[in-house]
Amino acid sequence: MLRFFKGFGLLSVFLLGSVATPAQSAGDLLVAPTRVVLDGSRGTEVVLNNIGSEPATYRISLEIKRMTAAGGLDEIAEADVTPAERLALDMIAFSPRRVTLPPNQPQVIRVGVRIPEGTPPGEYRAHMLFRAVPDAAPVVAADPAKPAGNGVSIALIPIYGITIPVIIRVGDLGAEATIGDAWVGDTPDGPAFNFGLTRTGNRSVYGDIEVTRPGVSEPLLVARGIAVYPEVGAREVSLRVPPELAARLKGPVRIRYSEDRDIGGGTIDEAERVVK
């Protein structure tokens, strides 16, 4: 709560105090872990928890998403998936698919994989989506402040959720990545630190980025959980940074892309760059 106040300042305090916000936070959720990699020999479990203040019904489903060169994830309609993406959807079994949870009640979702005979080696991936099923449209109470006649009032209800990748690796796969140019640029939302990542091989690369200034031990910037998926050979990584950090990032830096700490944290690539 504190963070929310801090972020939104006095305006929010005023709003919370004066407006009864309808059906807030029914559907808030926690998901752990945030990434699943399976080789088909055994399954795993994902924990879903209702962290809202009211009971909520959650639906769990699989989606196909493709990485873009800009580093985003595009949702792909089921009708447009490739045969390999279809195979990923078919290989992953999970249950339950729908669950109603009281507040602070965790639920384990079991995830299994069945790799059909003769599946070509490669990396198969789907994204598991957890999201609350909305209640029936709430009855809007008559608003005495609303002028009669031609007044229009609006209620927009977000259906929000979390996706985590479920990755299946078949066969002996390898991949490497190379750090490209790095620069500080402006976005409509403020400055961003940008750099390129090029990938080769037959699987995704995933890891943490650490930007340090030579001779200074404290890193300037740490960004964890950056992937380059097999559908792209290269992507741009664009990380919004506060203006003072953007200014400090300019000049000579060392960028290190390392594997996840869970699997040893080995270096994938390391490069000296002069940030413009």
Binding site: G71, P134, N150, A155, I157
Partner: protein, 165 residues
């Protein structure tokens, strides 16, 4: 609230770990083993709604814009009252983790007395790097109001996701 949620996730995982280890109890050895696995987690909380407040339509079609900061621009010919807010989502997770955010580019609203309107949706950022106190993003939009739009209460739903890569 966040701490409690995290604790629960660990408990859930610990139960799972214990269940997996259950066959070990059949072994002859009397040594007991306690295992716990801490899982990385992500939470998503909706802390404010996208509010266009109340609009009185005019003789010509117009728009009402709510920026991702919650500020309103009331189009020509319209009368806007009440307080507007952008939708705010709070994300918690591993310090330094990069989370991609996004959702529907537009939403259709249906009126209680008939009529529809559409709203485009804008997201404050395409991704956030979580700090020690997490991160947040906002959703604003531009509502297209028709000439003499039918009065009533309009509702619509839109999808928003926080995606780990």
């Amino acid at each position: 609230m966040r701490k409690f949620g995290m604790k629960r996730a660990v408990v859930g995982a610990a139960i799972a770990a214990l269940a997996l280890n259950a066959p070990a109890a059949h072994a002859a050895s009397a040594t007991a083993t306690a295992t716990a696995k801490i899982l990385r987690q992500i939470t998503l909380t909706n802390t404010s709604a996208l509010q266009y407040a109340t609009i009185i339509s005019g003789a010509t079609a117009s728009t009402v814009q709510v920026s991702t900061a919650g500020a309103r621009i009331c189009g020509a010919g319209l009368t806007c009252t009440g307080t507007t807010t952008a939708a705010n989502f709070d994300v918690q997770g591993t310090d330094g983790a990069v989370v991609l955010v996004g959702g529907d580019p537009s939403v259709t609203l249906n009126g209680s007395l008939g009529g529809t309107m559409t709203s485009s949706l804008t997201y404050s950022v395409p991704n956030i790097t979580l700090g020690a106190t997490g991160g947040n993003f906002q959703v604003g939009g531009t509502l297209s109001v028709g000439a003499n739009q039918t009065a009533g209460d309009y509702t619509g739903t839109f999808n928003v996701t926080a995606n780990y890569q």
